[in-house]
Symmetry: C2
Subunit: 297 residues, 2 copies
């Protein structure tokens, strides 16, 4: 497993949720199927959220029901609360993802809860998940910087992570929600977290706002992380985080890690087709920074 | 000096030499002056090459004569041969730059010499520089990969570097000419070169072809390198190297290293003005990847 890196494409959720154009169920399924065809081992396919709050994620239940199963792909769905968990549990969703920010102001702005309230809600969901034997992972958002508070205390990130794991979270995704982290800070935090919690229990989620997305993936690899979120064509952005732009592009991450000698199982030619499809469907996905070169190969 | 990083903007040479539109002397000077105003400590202002071979670099002598002096900026000019050195020596150019590739095929395709012939030419120039007390540095091109040969032997890079330093080169710029290196390979080579030759004698020059430009700067910093080439707005590309795209953008490098705690002396607001100017003059400079975010600050 040392030479394998798992890439979780969050384009169909984090990538689409803030798009000006809302894709149809058919279009979203077409994009997800293109990612499946490209060999992505994990895909975040949607969110069980209020269609009023996030209309782009409406009908995720319909999408989940129509996904190709028995192909080994780990599909995940974001759930904001116990209601989302109930929906996911009823649909037998293989992985559900909770989100809590390490910064309290971010929780207040994003989900109108203090960190304590958000954690309490997570414990509730994780308790239900345990009794129903469901797989629920947790995102620790704004792990390096908060758009409202600035630098985030490492102790807050550690505390939230520890409590979520103790409560039964299957995995922790450490997220630079607004793309504000530099690679030295990524290396420092992830090295220490790998020692404390085990690298196999950790993923990283980077945005490319400050052009450091690929560098941050590299720094996290150096710290032992072997699982990353990325989004096809660099789609993305957080509607509640000022200044946030797209996730680091899946194409760029695959290129980086494969050149470093890791296997991803991804077929780059098909991945570029999925990237073109993302551009066609949304009109905003630019493709990764290496697009011109990749298209020549 | 540990907390200072020197950025050498190569936009006016490496950035412009391959542009479809050839800028006038006045336009090139306007761009250079914008970089001076932005606080760049080093700028590659042109090349003393045949105007038939590289018409975009014609009249570099005129440009050099009109540069603002006594401002502490280190201006460099690329010289391909002894004739170029004579021109530079006559104009009292503060730093001249020789280029030799670690890969023999690259030398043959680029300058129609074997590596041995190219090195012999360099020794000739460096000998003249020593007797005239001129400052001549050397680029070791295709230090990781050659577009014709593929992976380049580390021993070839070491040998060329050692011989150039022995012959009197004031500094070595280790160049990923075609933007093919990954950060792990950058770290490995630069760490070993820093031990062998001293980090203070080394710079790095990266292209962003495979979206790894910023990651490679980070990796080289981890290896001890404190001096980097970059080009304003990501302008660049090598006319003799298939698949090569622009240099890593100065804006992205300044953002990275300053966030890591290094000082550059660069004023980001004025640097973005220079980047806009580069776009306006060439029509091709896209700006660094962090442009959208930087413009919001």
């Amino acid at each position: 497993m040392k030479n394998h890196i798992v890439i979780n494409d969050v384009g169909p959720r984090d990538g689409l949720q803030n798009q000006p154009k809302h894709l149809s169920v058919h279009e979203r399924l077409t994009l997800i199927n293109a990612l499946v065809d490209a060999g992505l081992p994990a895909i975040e396919v949607g969110a069980f959220v209020s269609p009023k709050a996030v209309p782009a994620m409406a009908s995720t239940d319909e999408i989940y029901a129509q996904l190709p199963k028995q192909n080994g792909v780990e599909y995940s769905v974001l759930i904001p609360n116990p209601k989302g968990f109930q929906t996911g549990a009823a649909l037998n969703v293989s992985t559900m993802s909770l989100v809590v920010a390490a910064s309290s102001t971010m929780n207040e702005k994003n989900i109108r809860m203090t960190t304590a309230q958000a954690m309490s809600m997570c414990f509730d969901v994780l308790g239900r998940a345990k009794s129903l034997e469901r797989n629920v992972q947790a995102y620790v958002a704004t792990a390096w910087a908060c758009p409202f508070e600035g630098a985030v205390n490492k102790s807050d990130v550690f505390q939230v992570t520890e409590e979520l794991l103790k409560a039964g979270a299957s995995h922790i995704v450490v997220a630079d929600t607004i793309g504000a982290a530099a690679p030295d800070a990524v290396y420092t935090l992830m090295s220490e977290m790998a020692v404390e919690f085990g690298a196999q229990n950790l993923s990283c989620h980077f945005h490319d706002t400050r052009a450091m997305g690929v560098a941050n993936v590299y720094a996290a690899i150096q710290a032992g992380v072997r699982r990353f979120d990325a989004s096809i064509g660099g789609l993305g952005g957080c509607p509640f985080a000022p200044g946030a732009t797209g996730n680091v592009a899946t194409e760029d991450v695959v290129l980086l890690v494969e050149q470093m000698g890791f296997e991803t199982g991804v077929d780059m030619k098909k991945l570029l087709e999925a990237s073109d499809l993302a551009t066609e469907l949304t009109g905003t996905a630019r493709g990764g920074h290496a697009k011109a070169w990749l298209k020549q190969q």
